[in-house]
């Protein structure tokens, strides 16, 4: 049986051995962070960056407080508030007493344990997965965790980044380490050029439609191929962000010149000689020629169309010109049931086209699609149009920095003149904890990541899509193939 001992030597021989075999980037980052590997036990994995937010941390801080422990590495721990905060005037008191208490608790915990907090009044506050990269905290080769499943976002930089539960948040606070089994690896190869109107969001929605919401369970995805290389860092973040929606805890992309160009000069990025040395080190992270994956998936980007979901999980997606699937044509009985249940909730008929379907709300935001390039893309299409009279449109920038940059470019004016609401940053209607939510029965086209029942408000019904498709729906009032507007 397992012999749990305190005195164990690091297994250097194992590490040395693995150096000689071709390794994936996932193996390389993993190997360089194993502190201890006892037989039959999970590895003690060192964590370089621990991100904290108000919802999943209070019970973890309480845990270490009860044990009389400190935060082991406050210098590697960064907190912000994003989930339950209002996106209206931040100078007003928070109306929701419970949310206010949760936010006050994070302020108290951060002060007590010496953790850096980007709080309500910080110019660097924002969605945790937007500010990490933005501040240069997120770097290639790191291990990054957060009590949030969309931590997979940071994998876009070649970091091994994954979401953890609150017990594990407590473990990392106390020890800067986690007990982890090595995940399996899966190459997701995406080649080909995207057509006009087709974006990174459509790539990931198409992948999820192909593999389903459990297709990646137990694996880390490494995204490779010419289509991935052509993407900007913000587009790569959109893809890695939704890896978890396929069941993969993490998605990773080997760093390249796009990565280095994005990072250079950012507040916490290495500087001077340290920068040059870091880039050399980061370049060596790429998967070695001949390295083997446990599994492989491929997707042809050139064949993709704008995607939209029709159901109640992110794997229930179709090209926007396709029809809603018919449960009677599904062989597997439990899948048939799931599809019937989803269509009932969504109020959709089998075989129905989504094009022309009237919608009530458009939400542009979330850690998936709220960065400056998302807002630029949306504003460019929006210019000269008005939000349709039947539609309420919210544009919620991912961070206060994104908000300021967008305002400096005048993007907010385009949105506001069109009739959209321009908000302060936060998770907002993606998780509907802060009052930004759908009413029962409302239909939303949303750039966020989850269309689960009630996700955007109890009884609300979500169609996930790209920022382009969201704008097309906002200005026409119905689900629209954005390519028709691009041709105008």
């Amino acid at each position: 049986m397992i012999n749990i001992r305190a005195e164990v030597k690091q297994e250097k021989s194992n590490q040395a051995n693995s150096m000689t075999n071709p390794r994936t980037i996932i193996d390389k980052v993993w190997d360089s962070h194993v502190v201890v590997q006892e037989p039959d036990c999970p590895a003690v994995l060192y964590i370089d960056l621990h991100l904290i937010h108000e919802v999943t941390s209070p019970q973890a801080f309480e845990g270490i407080r009860k044990r009389g422990l400190k935060v082991r590495r406050p210098d590697k721990t960064v907190a912000t508030m994003d989930h339950s905060i209002p996106t209206l005037d931040p100078s007003l008191p928070i109306a929701d007493a419970q949310a206010a208490q949760q936010i006050a608790q994070l302020e108290k915990n951060a002060a007590e344990f010496g953790v850096r907090l980007y709080g309500m009044r910080s110019p660097n506050r924002g969605i945790v997965h937007v500010i990490g990269p933005e501040l240069g905290l997120t770097q290639p080769g790191m291990t990054i965790v957060c009590g949030d499943s969309h931590t997979s976002t940071h994998g876009a930089f070649g970091a091994l980044a994954f979401g953890i539960g609150t017990s594990e948040v407590e473990h990392v606070l106390a020890t800067q380490c986690l007990l982890q089994r090595k995940p399996k690896t899966c190459e997701v190869r995406i080649d080909g050029r995207l057509s006009p109107g087709v974006t990174a969001k459509d790539i990931i929605l198409a992948l999820l439609a192909k593999i389903g919401v459990g297709g990646g369970t137990g694996h880390v995805f490494e995204y490779t191929g010419s289509a991935i290389r052509a993407l900007s860092m913000e587009e790569r973040m959109t893809i890695c962000n939704m890896s978890i929606e396929g069941g993969a805890r993490a998605g990773i992309i080997a760093p390249d010149d796009h990565t280095f160009e994005y990072l250079v000069g950012r507040e916490f990025a290495p500087k001077g000689d340290d920068w040059d040395a870091s880039v050399q080190r980061w370049k060596a992270l790429a998967t070695d020629e001949g390295a083997r994956y446990d599994k492989s998936i491929s997707l042809d980007a050139s064949a993709l169309q704008p995607m939209i979901t029709f159901g109640t999980n992110p794997g229930m997606g179709i090209p926007i010109t396709s029809r809603v699937p018919d449960p009677n044509k599904v062989g597997d009985s439990s899948q048939k049931l799931a599809l019937e249940k989803a269509l009932r909730y969504m109020g959709l008929q089998p075989g129905e086209s989504l094009l022309g379907k009237q919608i009530d709300v458009v939400f542009i935001g979330s850690c998936t699609n709220s960065r400056l390039s998302d807002l630029r893309t949306a504003a460019r299409l929006m210019k000269g149009w008005k939000v349709a009279p039947n539609v309420r449109m919210l544009v919620v920038p991912g961070s206060q920095q994104v908000k300021r940059q967008a305002e400096a470019e005048g993007l907010h004016t385009i949105f506001k003149e069109a009739g959209a609401e321009w908000r302060e940053s936060g998770c907002s209607m993606c998780i509907a904890m802060n009052g930004d939510q759908l009413s029962p029965g409302q239909y939303a086209v949303s750039t966020s990541n989850r269309n689960f029942e009630g996700r955007q408000g109890k009884g609300g019904r979500t169609f996930l899509a790209s920022p382009l498709t969201a704008v097309a729906a906002a200005v026409t009032g119905v689900i629209t193939d954005v390519r028709a507007l691009l041709e105008d």
Binding site: Y46, Q105, G163, T217, M433
Partner: protein, 194 residues
């Protein structure tokens, strides 16, 4: 503690695939700063009508399944967010184990850390249990964590997989953070060269 992991219980069926953590506990109940009261919010949007009264069609509200300590759920249970509140809510409601054909990774970790046993069974056994509970809501299964065995019907059983370390911790009441804390010196050495 080990006696806890040898028990017999009826099953509460929730035969839906891909039950996500937003269904297990909707986000509006995540504003608490402690772990108390989560059981009341378990499956809130399925379990209660809009007037707040129990939804009579929801299986957990049916008399036959009251007191069942095992949830029988569809494939890929616990997908979606990392909220440990999902495990807390299931535990607080009174569940000691979930049986499914697969579990989402983060949920599985969270469950194991809270003494909630994720029992992965074959599609064949899942179908069998499904039909058995449909025929007889009082149908019982026996769980033995030490043997990793789920027994049911007349002499039928199946071995279920579980991470050996998690099993050891559950059976012997090992505190995982306590275990990690023993590696202080190795962590310091690692940090010195990392």
């Amino acid at each position: 503690m080990s006696h806890f992991y040898k028990f017999t219980s009826r099953l509460a069926p929730l035969l839906v695939n891909d039950i996500d953590t937003d269904q297990i506990i909707p986000a509006r109940f995540l504003k608490a700063t402690d772990k108390s009261g989560m059981g009341d919010h378990l499956f809130a949007d399925w379990r209660y009508q809009s007037d707040g009264r129990p939804n009579p069609t929801f299986s957990l509200n049916q008399e036959a399944y009251r007191g069942a300590e095992i949830l029988l759920a569809g494939d890929n249970f616990g997908c979606g967010s990392s909220r440990e509140h999902a495990a807390w809510a299931l535990k607080a409601y009174g569940f000691r184990a979930i049986i499914s054909t697969s579990f989402a990774d983060i949920f599985k970790n969270n469950a194991l850390k809270n003494g909630l046993l994720p029992i992965q069974v074959s599609a064949h056994v899942y179908r069998f249990l499904n039909e058995a509970v449909e025929r007889n809501p009082r149908f019982e299964v026996h769980i033995d964590l030490d043997e990793q065995r789920i027994s049911f019907g007349e002499g039928s059983s199946e071995i279920f997989p579980i991470d050996p370390f998690s099993k050891y911790c559950l059976l012997h009441g090992v505190d995982e953070l306590g275990y990690l804390m023993k590696f202080q010196e190795q962590i310091e050495n690692f940090e010195a060269t990392h």
